[in-house]
């Protein structure tokens, strides 16, 4: 599968899911919105939809809707700490340009 999770990202996702106490896995996706056209989705999953693609990466169930797949091909989800801030990072080769903070992007 062309979408991957770094070791750190996988550990953190598994951790968050345990602490949350429910959830099937992690949803990755894109939707149109934001100043540069598209925005990422990063959500817990309680229900799987018909057009979802499900696969496992490093022990974590990853769920992506079929429409988002092409935009996420080759993407790696990483977990990073920057100063006091920490969170997930999308390393996406499909992105041509993005807004200053990277919350919104274009392909």
């Amino acid at each position: 599968m062309a979408i991957t999770l770094s070791d750190k990202a996988a550990t953190h996702v598994a951790n968050f899911l345990t602490k949350r106490g429910k959830g099937l896995g992690l949803r990755l996706g894109v939707r149109t919105s934001g100043c540069s056209g598209m925005a990422y989705k990063l959500e817990f999953v309680d229900e799987v939809n018909e057009d979802d693609v499900i696969f496992e990466a490093k022990g974590v169930k990853v769920i992506v809707d079929a429409k988002s797949m092409p935009y996420l091909e080759g993407m790696e989800l990483d977990f990073a700490r920057e100063g006091l801030n920490e969170g997930f990072k999308f390393n996406n080769p499909n992105v041509k340009d993005q807004c200053g903070c990277g919350e919104s992007f274009n392909v």
Partner: protein
């Protein structure tokens, strides 16, 4: 590059619209800030990875400040300008503060609240607390990478109106939007209850650095209902330090100490206290300025003995809170321990003995309040959470009353009333042609006015001249969800209805806050003006968004004229937001608020009907269950 958090299903925020909200535990000894990240409450640490921020502020002569560990290290070097435990002075006059004699500060008595003379000028406890809050705010903004929509600040449940108002003023001064003042034990109950899926009646025993609270809560299906609360807002770990301090002075037969020595010895005493939580004996050693060496050993038995009265002092409010809730110790399903001082074994033993059960200590007593506050802040900011929604029903800790003839108190709102609450009282004139009337509001349980805390004295003026007893003045006391009181008065018989809102005398006016902000900023005026304008614009945009959402959902509650008027007012507000006149924006917002008032009430009515519908009326007519 942005860092993402995992959202709840379907709740991914649009880019740049994450609602960053924080919870702050503003403690006597230490403070913390926490937030909810990927659905989990976490405390935010500083660059060195330390979650606690000592609530210590040092003022330099050039008006710069040091806050936290840096200031704490300097407290014995520069005791007069290094303020510790400032929470004890919030909303307090000089005569309310215990052990003033062993404190190194230059106190200045000021109306309502004491002030401190430092070499950076005279500082109010509100300003000192604001420095602590600013430091936590900066930490949070740095850690979350954006502007905060708001904060929940915790206060001891037993804080009175003056202490609450002072805390809220400090937060405003620090530039925080206060979503709610939350009682510390209630915050702990949220963190504990949601984590453990608790149901039943719980007691929260919260012994912090300088305050003690006991709250009895009923947890049912996502509702946290405070049944009663009690405490002592001047009793905490500091007092245990002070007992050791006095014991050492007695043992070593010391002469009065210099402020520097005094502070150093107090630090040794605190260390000894902490050491005794895990060890049978603690050495206390200090070389004082005179060259004399203090060297004593304190064992657990002696420590327990000299602090016995402090512990029994906490048990009185516990008994009273149980009585107020109409319960006995056996009715309590679990006792949650909160606050660093509950680490002392003799405290745990006393609580365990009283409730005849092992107290619950599975959450870090230092962090649990901040974590609960962050969880509540996340909910109040409008972020969805994984857990089902919950509802908090808190109470007012002390009765509110009025002075009547002969210096007696007449209770208007009794303690443990669920907030928000209001009560109206009618007054009349006792002299012909009387046009003014004095009203004195107090807080406390005692019968004599002198034994209660005076909150506000104000005079109702402009009463139309009538014969004695003819005027009817209705005074309304409103306590909001923060536990803060406001008073308004209205003369009802004449066509002229005069209405005033009274803010208790110790609170800071908007002008004073603006003045303090100005003092603390360079180019203050421009900054403050720009900030105020931006705030008004954001508020205006939010209001338009909310109104449009309401129209999209519930336009059926309005007729066409009403819809047209609301739309026209929205357009007007839009136009003012595009400009840079803050006053015009505020006026346009008031207009929209006025135009949508009836709509808002109809929507509220509809939502109540909806939630009550579908119930069987047969269920209702059952027997009396008292």
């Amino acid at each position: 590059m942005a860092l993402f958090q995992i959202a709840e299903p379907g709740e991914s925020a649009a880019p740049h619209e994450h609602k960053l909200a924080i919870g702050i535990d503003l403690g006597t000894t230490n403070s913390l800030v926490a937030t909810v990240r990927s659905g989990i409450a976490v405390c935010l640490a500083d660059e060195q990875g330390r979650p606690l921020l000592p609530s210590v502020v040092r003022y330099h002569a050039d008006s710069t400040t040091e806050v936290g560990y840096d200031a704490q290290r300097q407290q014995a070097v520069d005791p007069k300008n290094t303020i510790v435990s400032v929470k004890r002075f919030m909303g307090r006059g000089l005569r309310d503060i215990a052990h003033v004699e062993s404190m190194p500060y230059d106190f200045i008595e000021a109306p309502g609240m004491v002030k401190l003379k430092t070499h950076a000028g005279i500082k109010s406890p509100v300003e000192v607390s604001a420095e602590v809050l600013k430091s936590l705010k900066a930490r949070a903004e740095h850690a979350l990478g954006g502007e905060l929509v708001g904060a929940v600040i915790t206060v001891p449940a037993y804080f009175d109106d003056a202490q609450r108002q002072a805390t809220k003023d400090a937060a405003r001064l620090a530039g925080l939007n206060v979503l709610r003042l939350l009682n510390e034990p209630t915050a702990a109950a949220i963190a504990y209850g949601l984590d453990n899926g608790a149901e039943g009646v719980y007691a929260v025993y919260d012994l912090g650095g300088g305050t003690f609270d006991i709250s009895i809560l009923k947890l049912t299906k996502g509702v946290f209902e405070v049944m009663s609360t009690g405490g002592d807002s001047a009793l905490g770990g500091d007092d245990f330090d002070h007992r050791i301090y006095c014991w050492v002075i007695e043992q070593a037969k010391l002469q009065p100490l210099s402020p520097e020595d005094s502070r150093r010895l107090m630090m040794r005493c605190r260390e000894a206290k902490e050491f005794l939580s895990k060890n049978p004996e603690a050495p206390i050693m200090l070389r004082v300025d005179s060259g004399e060496m203090i060297e004593v050993k304190l064992d657990v038995a002696t420590f327990t003995n000299i602090t016995q009265t402090l512990i029994s002092k906490t048990m009185q409010p516990v008994k009273k809170a149980l009585r107020d809730a109409g319960l006995r110790a056996d009715d309590i399903k679990g006792v949650v321990m909160v606050g660093g001082s509950t680490r002392m074994p003799q405290v745990q033993k006393a609580v365990g003995d009283f409730f005849r059960q092992e107290p619950l200590t599975n959450l870090d007593p230092d962090k649990v309040v901040a974590l609960g506050a962050a969880t509540q802040a996340n909910l109040l900011a409008g972020n969805k959470t994984g857990k089902d929604d919950w509802l908090l029903l808190d109470v007012i800790p002390l009765s509110l009353g009025l002075e009547t003839m002969g210096g007696l108190t007449e209770k208007v709102i009794p303690r443990n009333s669920t907030i928000p609450t209001a009560r109206a009282q009618e007054f009349t004139t006792y002299k012909d042609g009387q046009t003014a009337m004095a009203i004195h509001v107090v807080q406390g349980e005692r019968e004599m006015i002198a034994d209660c805390r005076s909150l506000a004295r104000f005079e109702l003026r402009g009463i139309p001249a009538m014969v004695a007893g003819a005027a009817r003045i209705r005074v309304t006391f409103q306590v909001d969800a923060d536990g803060l009181l406001s008073v308004s008065a209205r003369e009802q018989t004449t066509g002229v209805e005069s209405s005033i809102t009274v803010k208790p005398s110790y609170g800071l006016s908007d002008d004073e806050i603006a003045g303090m902000l100005k003092d603390s900023m360079e180019h203050a005026k421009d900054d403050a003006m720009a900030r105020a304008l931006r705030e008004a614009q954001v508020e205006g945009e939010r209001m338009i968004e909310a109104t449009e959402a309401a129209l999209a959902e519930d336009a059926h509650l309005l007729n066409e004229t009403e819809i047209a008027r609301i739309k026209a007012t929205i357009a007007k507000l839009h136009a003012t937001i595009a400009g840079d006149n803050r006053r015009l924006i505020n006026i346009a917002m008031d207009d929209l608020g006025f135009e949508t008032q009836a709509f808002a009430h109809r929507r509220m009515d509809q939502s109540i009907k909806k939630v009550l519908s579908g119930r069987k009326v047969d269920d209702i007519r059952m027997g009396e269950e008292e």
